[in-house]
């Protein structure tokens, strides 16, 4: 590290104390919202509707969870989300690493062109073409299908370049000599390259898992059939607008918060891994070519 002896002057001491106080303040601004959410989620229906500073459940109860999961059937969008996330992430990782593999092969004609081809897609903000994308999905008959959500972001330039950066540390001669021995490219890719880039795979998988789980705009645009709703859309209507005039449920605060907690759990479960790989990944991906 950059320092091996603490500073002893009184100014430095004061600064350290102030600094730690500041950090504590900052941390509480991050923790309190989540604490508040969890506390409310585990409060009873009526208690969650009363004012007060809630950092611990008021009248502990899981009513909120049973209401949102069973009666409002949040398990449907939850399962849809699981399907889209798992299938989408698997496909994304496979395709991105395949492309990454291709782009580190030496001596293939047109490689530069392919790289440019992929990089251009990164310069156009996807949101800006949401209407044409919507039209395309409509024309392909993909509206109201989970496939449309899996396809949205099936490959991304970012992941391709990331995988390429990871593959670059593998000597190109390996592939070349395997090819001499008559191995097919897919086999070389699957049995030699993939295992050597496990850190890269983990990074892309985690990135994709998080962004898939949180995927919002495509679901908002392409899905209107309630049985195909994904979690974020269901949550949006649960938390932000409950204007559905035909619902007979009383949606109390704990029900809303329980919905949020359910959406948080898978992400919190993978959090330790995310911490390990995210920074590395984004720096590699943002690497200037």
């Amino acid at each position: 590290m950059n320092r091996n002896r603490p500073y002893t002057s009184w100014q430095s001491r004061c600064f350290d104390i102030a600094n730690i106080a500041l950090m504590l303040l900052l941390m509480s601004s991050m923790i309190i919202p989540f604490l508040n959410t969890f506390a409310l989620a585990f409060s009873s229906n009526l208690a969650s509707m009363t004012p007060g500073i809630v950092l611990w459940p008021k009248e502990f109860s899981v009513e909120g969870f049973t209401t949102v999961w069973n009666r409002m059937q949040l398990y449907l969008p939850f399962m849809n989300n699981v399907i889209v996330t798992v299938v989408g992430t698997a496909a994304h990782v496979l395709l991105s690493s395949m492309a990454g593999y291709v782009l580190v092969q030496q001596g293939i004609p047109g490689k530069k062109l392919m790289i440019s081809f992929i990089m251009i897609t990164m310069m156009v903000p996807g949101e800006a073409i949401m209407i044409p994308l919507y039209v395309v999905n409509r024309d392909l008959g993909l509206l109201n299908t989970l496939s449309s959500l899996i396809i949205a972001g099936l490959v991304s330039g970012f992941s391709v370049l990331l995988m390429r950066n990871f593959f670059q540390s593998i000597p190109g001669e390996m592939a070349e000599s395997a090819r001499m021995d008559g191995a097919g490219d897919f086999r070389i890719f699957a049995t030699m390259y993939l295992p050597l880039a496990s850190a890269g795979l983990a990074t892309v998988t985690l990135f994709e898992f998080v962004s898939r789980w949180n995927q919002f705009t495509p679901a908002l645009l392409y899905i209107s059939d309630q049985t195909k709703y994904t979690l974020q859309i269901a949550l949006k209507s649960l938390i932000v607008d409950t204007d559905s005039t035909s619902s007979n449920f009383i949606i109390t605060t704990n029900v809303r918060m329980a919905g949020i907690v359910i959406a948080l759990i898978p992400l919190i479960a993978i959090y330790p891994y995310v911490q390990k790989y995210f920074v590395k990944g984004i720096m590699l991906g943002a690497n200037k070519e």
Partner: protein, 291 residues
């Protein structure tokens, strides 16, 4: 030619990726570009109308309102979201106890993981003047009346900026921390021998070493200013819409809610154009490609 035959398996592997980008990136781009010159109707023919759609968008005061909102909100997020993480990373680096440092890192990073539906929803609830914890705290601290953060125009933009910074500050901070860790310790030693104090080390050793990370972060953020959507879509409401609706909201409203596919697409292309120009200018300004 021989090489192509030799590597046909490689090309085959690339095929699905190329196909995907062609159908879901290039084609929509081209298609959208065409539509932006058409009077796009659901049924019947779609005559070309030249630059009409663009002219209509540029004449629409609602477009300029959302444009201004985008610049004000996006610009503030860009500025504050740029400075805060650097300050935080530098301060955090001054903490000696490494366990404390780790805990802080772990905590501030958390909000980055969650979607805007979750984060926005949480803040809407917390800012509610009825039972929201923020107002409850203010009342406990002696405020007379709860504040309608989400319904009063004066608070609308600051709330958007604050929540956006809140969500991303930890993540960006950790990028800087990673860069700080990789600074060569001998630089600090040399500076100390020259008699540098604590502040000098930060100012003349750490900070200059972070410049390249700053550039990366700035580029990432600049490219996302104009495409802001999720956050606003989740957190807006009728009472504050005029102050917070951004350009992508305009596109969404025109295209999806008002049948004006032509206008919406034209607005989308103006955004693409603006993004390209801004990115290009910033790249030159910060000499992104040099070093």
């Amino acid at each position: 030619m021989k090489a192509i035959v030799k590597y046909r398996a490689v090309y085959l592997m690339m095929l699905p990726i190329i196909a995907y980008f062609l159908i879901f990136a290039y084609y929509p781009l081209v298609r959208g570009f065409v539509i932006s010159f058409q009077q796009f109707r659901l049924i019947g023919d779609r005559p070309f109308v030249g630059l009409d759609n663009y002219a209509q968008v540029l004449k629409d005061s609602a477009f300029w309102d959302t444009f201004a909102n985008t610049l004000i909100i996006g610009g503030s997020i860009l500025a504050i979201g740029f400075i805060m993480p650097i300050a935080l990373a530098l301060l955090l680096n001054e903490v000696f106890a490494s366990w404390f440092k780790k805990i802080v890192q772990m905590v501030v990073y958390l909000p980055h993981l969650f979607s805007w539906v979750v984060v926005g929803g949480m803040w809407i609830m917390m800012l509610s003047p009825d039972t929201g914890i923020v107002n409850q705290l203010l009342l406990a601290l002696g405020a007379e009346k709860p504040i309608g953060f989400m319904s009063q125009e004066a608070y609308a933009r600051p709330v958007m900026v604050f929540t956006a910074v809140w969500k991303e500050v930890g993540f960006t901070c950790i990028l800087y921390l990673a860069a700080i860790v990789s600074i060569n310790p001998s630089l600090y030693e040399a500076a100390r021998i020259d008699g540098a104090n604590r502040w000098h080390l930060v100012r003349y050793v750490t900070l200059p070493q972070l410049v390249s990370t700053m550039k990366v972060v700035l580029m990432l953020h600049v490219m996302s200013v104009l495409k802001m959507f999720d956050q606003i879509f989740v957190m807006r409401n009728g009472a504050i819409a005029g102050k917070v609706d951004v350009i992508m909201m305009y596109t969404y409203q025109k295209g999806i809610l008002e049948f004006q596919i032509g206008m919406a697409t034209a607005a989308g292309f103006l955004v693409i154009l603006a993004t390209l120009i801004i990115t290009f200018v910033i790249r030159i300004l910060i000499r992104y490609d040099e070093e």
